[in-house]
């Protein structure tokens, strides 16, 4: 995915023109939740807080920014607060504290009308269990967002028809959701989200309910759509493979807290703590790591005859050429400046370690 979009800044912030920025976001379930924030109680662990006040922390002081066109993945184990977080973004769940700025507007302060307007035109969401309307045909499900905006039947059907084609459901316009397979139903969910032409797409584990083959299809579909439409996306998943495949950056959560934010190779190569390390331990590292993470500093005595490769080349892709050559690979940055050297040993360390890991 990195290849197709303008690479956003890896970390840090494009504060002014972020598509979405979240600052100090909290969600605590239970009565009297507001009073907890700012007190020492807020620092308690989730279990302790529950014990003491009966409240449950869903999201704990989360801040991040998403650049326009970026695919931002949030992942974590079940119960880590991912769904809560993504729902707070459009206030399907009312945040307890913090700011959510979408396209320059702080939606936590928006009135009911503004919020509706935002949901109608700026954001759309795709749900794990689809949430389709069983009494409407596919085409009308897709057109639902247009319908509630008061757009005439003819026009909305025409627009919805285009989107149906876009997601590959041509010919199923007149079907009812329960006549479709799970994968197709989720395509309808996707189409419904796209029909509003939102600038920000939110996904809450959209493919968890699908079987693996269909899931892969749908992931590719999202990649394709992202390529064609270039929308900003926040994508929730608990599947690391999916996160690595789709994400420009990944946010890892535990018990409502942020644990690490970074590009896929960063997360795999430099896990912030044991929780993340555990998470990424099964990942085939050669598929994720880039040369940047395996190179060493150049030395004067290095051979200058080896192949030249970019720093963000995936190890696996580099492996063949690197091993074939007698000379070590020279790694260059965007300006073709040599920034490091990767020799056969470095490549083999990654590939072989991974073969041994499962044993």
């Amino acid at each position: 995915m990195t290849a197709v979009v303008d690479q956003p800044e890896q970390t840090g912030a494009a504060t002014t023109d972020a598509a979405l920025s979240v600052r100090g976001l909290w969600k605590i379930f239970g009565s009297g939740a507001e009073k907890i924030i700012g007190t020492p109680d807020a620092e308690l662990s989730r279990a302790d807080l529950k014990q003491k006040t009966g409240c449950v922390v869903g999201v704990k002081d989360v801040s991040f920014e998403v650049a326009p066109g970026e695919v931002f993945v949030v992942m974590g184990l079940s119960g880590s607060g991912k769904s809560t977080l993504v729902r707070c973004l459009t206030r399907l769940i009312e945040p307890t504290a913090g700011e959510v700025v979408i396209d320059g507007r702080d939606i936590t302060k928006a009135g009911a009308g503004d919020l509706r307007e935002l949901r109608r035109t700026h954001t759309s969401m795709v749900f794990q269990h689809f949430g389709l309307l069983p009494h409407k045909q596919v085409i009308d499900n897709v057109a639902f967002g247009l319908e509630i905006r008061g757009i005439s039947k003819k026009e909305r059907r025409a627009r919805a028809g285009e989107i149906v084609d876009l997601v590959g459901l041509t010919g199923f316009e007149q079907s009812y959701p329960d006549q479709l397979s799970g994968g197709m139903q989720q395509r309808v969910g996707l189409a419904r989200a796209l029909a509003n032409d939102p600038s920000l797409l939110l996904f809450d584990e959209p493919f968890s309910a699908l079987d693996p083959l269909i899931r892969r299809d749908m992931q590719n579909e999202v990649i394709r759509l992202h390529h064609e439409l270039g929308k900003t996306m926040v994508f929730i998943t608990h599947d690391l493979q999916e996160a690595l495949k789709l994400g420009d950056r990944i946010l890892i959560m535990r018990d409502g807290e942020m644990v690490q934010v970074g590009a896929p190779d960063e997360v795999v190569a430099a896990p912030a703590d044991d929780y993340v390390r555990d998470f990424v331990s099964d990942v085939p590292r050669s598929h994720v790591l880039t040369l940047k993470w395996v190179m060493r500093d150049p030395r004067p005595d290095d051979s200058m005859d080896g192949p030249v490769m970019k720093a963000d080349t995936i190890v696996r892709q580099a492996a063949k050429a690197a091993l074939a050559s007698d000379h070590p690979v020279r790694v260059v940055d965007e300006n073709d400046r040599v920034v490091g050297i990767v020799d056969d040993d470095a490549i083999l360390r990654v590939v072989v370690a991974e073969e041994e890991a499962p044993a």
Partner: protein
């Protein structure tokens, strides 16, 4: 949102889920037997003392006070604003009913016939059936209407339909907003308040609030519509509200996330998605209304109930048979039509029917119906169903059949009656009604404590105190006895048939439609054939009650046993248990919750029938109520009897609920056809 959540992992240090209080030592039933044993011993020594008998037409000061209250209310009719209001509402009902009557059922003076004759009405009704549910239903509707005329009960049938539908219309107008409120409110207190009110209406045998309602709106069509309305209101509120509340949260979230307003949420998502459940609620409301409208004959309501009541009073089985059958025909027609109507639109779309063709067909048939209306206004034979004596012939035929049957099988039915009477009914009645009242009270209290635990005690004390206070203790015990015996028979039937159905899918396939049909028949009708078999005795009421209660109880038992996990069953089979062991050691114990629920429903159904049967020989409380209708000086006693019936119902219900609560087995309360619970 909860739909997407995985269940939270259990807190490590949370207390383990509460275990049902296990009584150490003797099991509950053994304690119950001990209580009964002691009771029998005490009875033997105290028999006949302080039984609080109140013979036939005697009444107490309390009853006179109640009668006085009635007289005051009636006297204040011109000054009391509340009474004026209720009477005004009642007059509206009368006006509407009478207007529709002149339209389709009674002569509209100076015309010798109604505005629209039988042909026109039948044609329009069939057309409505066609539009709502397809041509098969249209045929059913047409045939039903023709049968009303053919058997000579056109006016009565139309009147019954009118009362039913006026009440249903008001029910829907009042009930749907409440249902929406119930379905969408987040306020726990509102929810609890509505649910509690509906619960109370549910355990309230409606027969008894005929009296107060009549007091406030008068007898005749106004009383009939008011009672029917009140009785048919709860199903639509509860079922439709439940449907709206049950709309998938994911879908609501998904559509909310598209930025809908609250109105759009309601109109485009919640109501359409709950449509089928709402129609089920409507179906239940219509069926409840029909049942009640039939019974409203007691308060001089118009309709088919009248000839049935008259026949029951004069013990004319044949005369009651025809109108009774027509009530069944009407019930089936309404039930099938509403059920089919709930499925029809989806079916049409799925079958890919062309809406244009449908429009043409409806247009043409509609025009034909209008022609029929026109003709029925012009030609007397198409306006008034041609006279025939089918009605009398059938009635005589049925009477002959009954005579032949009682002559031939009299020994058999008599034997059955004697066995039950001497084996069960009489001994139990002596125990309940011949013991001193305080002995009975203590015994019931002890039994409720044993069976239901502490939570049953308070309601039991209150109900017993109430029964004592209203001065009809003896009658209440007699009615209670009939109810208990009826329930024992119901449970015997339910266990045998329920287990059979649960174990043999084919039996289920055959029996279930019969039971479903049985549940749509208004209770009143059951009395007719039973009266033929057992004459006017308490036995008639008991057997009618058993038949009335059986479908619910059987279904509950069958579903409960089917709900037993197949894995457990397999495990028991693997250990080599016999079929008998399998049933008694695994299936029945595990379905205990359903059994208790079945017993509860059985009790309430039989109680309601024991009351309705008051006038065909069951006597006791039911008779007191009927007497209250017919004689103004007995009104107070009737009202006291009505309240006593309510107290009995609550007593039974609370003890059963408490007993069920103590059972660990869960059951799904939504499965219970609640509107018939404790009906009438």
């Amino acid at each position: 949102m909860t739909a997407t959540l995985a269940p939270a992992p259990p807190e490590p240090d949370a207390p383990p889920p509460e275990e049902p209080v296990a009584r150490r030592g003797l099991p509950r039933w053994a304690w119950a037997l001990i209580v009964i044993g002691v009771w029998v011993v005490v009875y033997a020594f105290t028999k006949g003392q302080d039984t609080l008998v109140l013979p036939g037409r005697e009444h107490t000061d309390l009853h006179d006070t109640l009668t006085g209250f009635r007289d005051d209310v009636l006297a204040s009719r011109d000054s009391n604003p509340i009474i004026q209001l209720t009477y005004a509402v009642g007059e509206r009902f009368v006006a509407v009913v009478e207007w529709v009557q002149t339209l389709i059922s009674v002569p509209d003076f100076p015309r010798p016939v109604p505005q629209v004759g039988w042909l026109g009405v039948t044609a329009v009704a069939a057309w409505v059936g066609l539009a709502l549910a397809g041509w098969r239903i249209a045929l059913l509707v047409a045939a039903s209407f023709v049968s009303f005329g053919f058997f000579g009960y056109w006016s009565d049938a139309m009147d019954l339909l009118i009362v039913t539908f006026v009440a249903v219309a008001v029910s829907v107008l009042v009930g749907m907003p409440l249902a929406i409120w119930l379905g969408t409110t987040r306020n726990r207190y509102v929810l609890a308040a509505i649910n509690t009110t509906l619960d109370i209406l549910q355990t309230m045998p409606t027969f008894v609030y005929l009296l107060p309602i009549v007091l406030f709106v008068g007898i005749g069509p106004s009383g009939a519509v008011a009672c029917t309305l009140l009785y048919s209101l709860p199903p639509i509120i509860r079922i439709a509200g439940h449907g709206i509340r049950g709309v998938s949260t994911t879908t609501l979230e998904a559509t909310d996330s598209a930025g809908q307003t609250r109105w759009q949420r309601l109109l485009k998502v919640q109501l359409p998605m709950a449509r089928r459940t709402i129609v089920v609620g409507l179906n239940q409301t219509i069926m409840a209304a029909l049942a009640m409208a039939t019974l409203a004959a007691y308060v001089n309501g118009p309709g088919l109930g009248k000839p049935v009541l008259a026949a029951l009073q004069s013990r004319d089985v044949g005369g009651g048979f025809v109108p009774g059958m027509l009530i069944v025909v009407m019930a089936v027609m309404l039930d099938r039509t509403t059920t089919a109507a709930s499925e029809a639109p989806e079916k049409r779309i799925r079958d890919g029917a062309d809406p244009k063709i449908r429009r043409i067909v409806l247009g043409v048939t509609g025009a034909l119906a209008l022609v029929a209306v026109y003709l029925s206004r012009e030609q007397i034979d198409l306006a008034r169903f041609p006279e025939n004596d089918v009605r009398r012939t059938v009635a005589d035929g049925v009477n002959d059949l009954v005579d032949w049957f009682t002559d031939t099988f009299g020994g058999l039915t008599g034997g059955f009656k004697d066995v039950i009477s001497y084996g069960l009914l009489n001994p139990l009645e002596s125990l309940l009604a011949e013991s001193p009242w305080y002995v009975v009270a203590v015994a019931i209290l002890a039994l409720s404590a044993v069976l239901g635990g502490v939570r049953a005690l308070l309601p039991t004390v209150i109900c017993l105190a109430g029964l004592w206070y209203f001065d009809l203790w003896h009658d209440a015990m007699v009615t209670l006895n009939m109810t208990l015996v009826g329930t024992i028979l119901v449970m015997a039937l339910a266990l045998v048939l329920g287990v059979w159905m649960a174990r043999r899918p084919r039996v289920d396939l055959v029996l279930r439609p019969v039971l479903d049909a049985g549940q749509t028949i208004p209770p009143f009708v059951y009395l007719i054939p039973i009266l033929g078999l057992f004459e006017a005795t308490r036995f008639t009421a008991i057997v009618a009650g058993v038949i009335y209660a059986a479908p619910v109880a059987i279904k509950l038992v069958a579903d409960g046993i089917k709900g037993v996990s197949p894995a457990t069953l397999e495990a028991s089979r693997a250990t080599g248990s016999t079929t008998w062991q399998e049933i008694t050691k695994v299936q029945l114990p595990m379905a205990r919750g359903s059994l208790v629920l079945a017993a509860n429903q059985g009790l309430l159904y039989v109680l309601s029938m024991a009351v309705i049967g008051g006038m065909v020989g069951a006597g006791a409380l039911g008779y007191d109520v009927v007497l209250g209708f017919s004689r103004s000086e007995e009104w107070g006693k009737g009202a006291a009897a009505g309240i006593s019936i309510v107290l009995l119902g609550i007593l039974i219900d609370r003890i059963c609920r408490a007993a069920a609560h103590r059972d660990p087995v869960t059951h799904d309360p939504s499965k219970r056809p609640w509107w018939r619970a404790a009906s009438i």
